[in-house]
């Protein structure tokens, strides 16, 4: 009962998450709670620990320390239940190039055990939402980079998940496609989905996110709605906040 109540208020609860790669600490004691129906932006320079955090939430990486609950399910001990309610669009498109766009989406629907009678409609809807209906029957190897990102998004959403993790969802997209994806994300939020996205585009975070968390060197260094952070740090925009907190030094990707 207690777990169900917690799940009703917090979609994702991270408590003291630490992840080490040998001697390198990628995430350092991250504690965070993301309520249902929120669009949460995880921001940070390259190598700050964003993707590691996402991978820990999905269960792909085992935390060195700390716990993560997704939809009330402990990722470590109830991984199958947690994975069933999460849709993930990773940083790399991670698609089957020899399948068509709709076949990729269909495959992931099958992996999520979407009922056969619903699956085709779900695939068609997902492809429509990402603007790929006309290209649904083309092989993904023929797609542009932006189209691959969009089909990757459709693969994450075909299961109609409660929680969506989007790692750099609009990288490589032209302005029109990016705007379409933004609209889609906001539509998902209006349907009550919880969305966690990482991005390097500050205007994207400002446009979409109810709250953002800025992490650097694996630590959460700022948390709040973009407007509040701008006021708090006397910045003209979120990018200014970001630069103030993380500096101007160029980081290597990780």
């Amino acid at each position: 009962m207690q777990k169900e109540m917690a799940a009703a208020t917090s979609a994702i609860t991270i408590d003291g998450l630490t992840k080490d790669y040998g001697d390198v600490r990628a995430v350092d004691g991250l504690t965070l709670s993301i309520p249902e129906a929120e669009v949460f932006g995880l921001l940070g320079p390259n190598g700050s620990g964003k993707t590691t955090t996402i991978n820990c939430i999905t269960g792909l990486l085992k935390p060195t320390k700390g716990t993560i609950e997704v939809g009330g399910f402990d990722v470590k001990t109830e991984g199958a239940e947690a994975r069933a309610i999460v849709g993930v669009s990773p940083q790399e498109a991670a698609i089957c190039p020899y399948l068509t766009g709709s076949e990729n989406v269909h495959l992931f629907g099958e992996l999520y055990s979407v009922p056969r009678k619903l699956l085709k409609a779900r695939v068609d809807l997902a492809m429509e939402k990402v603007g790929l209906t006309d290209d649904a029957r083309r092989r993904v190897s023929k797609y542009s980079g932006g189209m691959k990102r969009r089909v990757s998004l459709a693969m994450a959403l075909v299961t109609d998940p409660k929680i969506v993790l989007l790692d750099e969802p609009t990288v490589g997209m032209d302005p029109q496609a990016r705007r379409a994806v933004w609209d889609f994300i906001l539509e998902l939020r209006d349907k009550g989905k919880t969305i966690v996205l990482t991005t390097h585009y500050m205007e994207e975070a400002e446009e979409l996110c109810d709250r953002v968390g800025i992490i650097d060197h694996g630590r959460l260094i700022a948390l709040g709605p973009p407007a509040e952070l701008e006021v708090k740090y006397r910045a003209k925009d979120l990018e200014d906040v970001f630069i103030q907190l993380t500096g101007r030094r160029i980081r290597e990707g990780a």
Partner: protein, 387 residues
């Protein structure tokens, strides 16, 4: 594990084979091309599949040709694969053999008659038999006759001359170790054909390794594993897809070798067991493929490293092995492919029963080793291959 997810992943693999030219070539077209190439190169096309061996029989017994020797020659002729000539002495026979007029010489010792008589008088008392050695002189060069003539002579001596209807622990005859002879009217292809089945399947190692490394590189493997699908689903998907691919390959190779004139002597049961063994062998190749993927950093590296597992099986475990030295052939026994080829040779070429010890042993070795190698491959990939 959920079968529906595994099947979805298997269907994806099948689509890949037909859509990616490199996969289609290695998995489907290459075995066909190889079979046709071997068939034409080693004489399957335009030649008879019914071998006829020209052999001379020398009876060293006293007097003219004895009744027993006559019966032996008649029984040889009755097999339908022997063109038998009676020769007066060994020197004449050796001369004919060395000039290529004969493919083999069978020398019946002077004790031949007394050996038969002693066996017939005391069939259950080996200590009272007069033991004899039948000498075989065979021309070097033909693998098929080397396999066939001693077997036919042994069969004629046992079932024909001695009248043994069932397997007995001992007989009073010993057949000397033969040399190799050339075969007239047959082809090397008939000897090589069983090995082609294993040969085609072995390349799965490369395909499995490339698939897993490529999907690891582009993040697809990780992506699949953050869905409700488990590692077991992924592995089972591969097992399902490659078992079917192995069966399809076997059927393709069979159609090709049949089209080239090879006629397996196996009945339907033998054919099904043969196909089953080839299909089971796919598990072994998946296992080796997973090990290759685990130690390869990229799909390109996987292609090269896969040859570590591919080449030894290819040279020591398939048809090529029949032409290798005894040492190399002994080394082949450490590779599952050897037992696949041996089983198919027993079933398809020698017409062995599916319940024969040889076939059952091969089946057991292929099954056990394939499952073990698959399990090792899964563990190695889990431990080292995901990073």
């Amino acid at each position: 594990m959920q079968f529906g997810r595994a099947l979805a992943l298997a269907r994806r693999d099948w689509k890949r084979i037909f859509r990616e030219p490199a996969f289609l070539f290695i998995i489907m077209l290459f075995p066909v091309m190889l079979t046709v190439a071997f068939g034409t190169s080693f004489g399957a096309v335009g030649e008879s599949q019914s071998p006829t061996f020209k052999v001379g029989v020398v009876d060293l017994g006293p007097g003219d040709n004895s009744t027993s020797a006559g019966q032996f020659m008649d029984d040889l002729r009755a097999t339908g694969v022997m063109n038998v000539q009676h020769l007066a002495d060994n020197a004449t026979a050796q001369s004919a053999l060395s000039q290529g007029q004969l493919q083999g010489v069978i020398v019946l010792p002077s004790t031949y008659d007394s050996t038969i008589q002693s066996f017939r008088s005391y069939p259950t008392e080996p200590s009272r038999w007069v033991n004899s050695t039948i000498s075989l002189y065979l021309d070097k060069g033909s693998l098929l006759s080397a396999q066939t003539i001693p077997a036919v002579v042994g069969q004629v001596l046992g079932q024909g001359v001695l009248g043994i209807k069932s397997v007995v622990p001992a007989v009073p005859f010993t057949i000397s170790s033969p040399s190799l002879v050339k075969v007239q009217g047959s082809s090397l292809f008939a000897t090589f054909a069983p090995g082609l089945f294993a040969f085609a399947s072995i390349y799965m190692i490369m395909m499995v390794a490339q698939s897993y490394t490529a999907e690891r590189e582009n993040g697809l493997l990780d992506r699949i594993l953050v869905t409700p699908a488990t590692s077991a689903d992924v592995i089972m998907g591969s097992v399902i897809s490659y078992l079917v691919i192995g069966l399809v390959q076997a059927i393709l190779v069979f159609v090709c070798v049949y089209g080239l004139g090879y006629r397996p002597v196996a009945d339907l049961e033998g054919l099904l067991v043969g196909f089953g063994i080839v299909t089971m062998f796919a598990l072994c190749n998946i296992g080796f493929g997973l090990i290759t993927a685990a130690i390869s950093r990229s799909a390109g590296a996987a292609t090269g490293i896969s040859f570590l597992f591919l080449m030894p099986q290819l040279f020591l475990g398939t048809f090529v092995g029949t032409s290798l030295s005894a040492t190399a052939q002994a080394a082949g026994k450490f590779f599952p492919a050897y037992y696949v080829t041996d089983a198919l040779t027993s079933l398809f070429t020698r017409g062995a029963a599916v319940t024969s010890q040889s076939v059952l042993t091969d089946l057991a070795v292929v099954s056990a080793s394939s499952v073990i190698i698959l399990l090792v491959g899964i563990q190695v990939f889990k431990r080292f291959g995901k990073a």
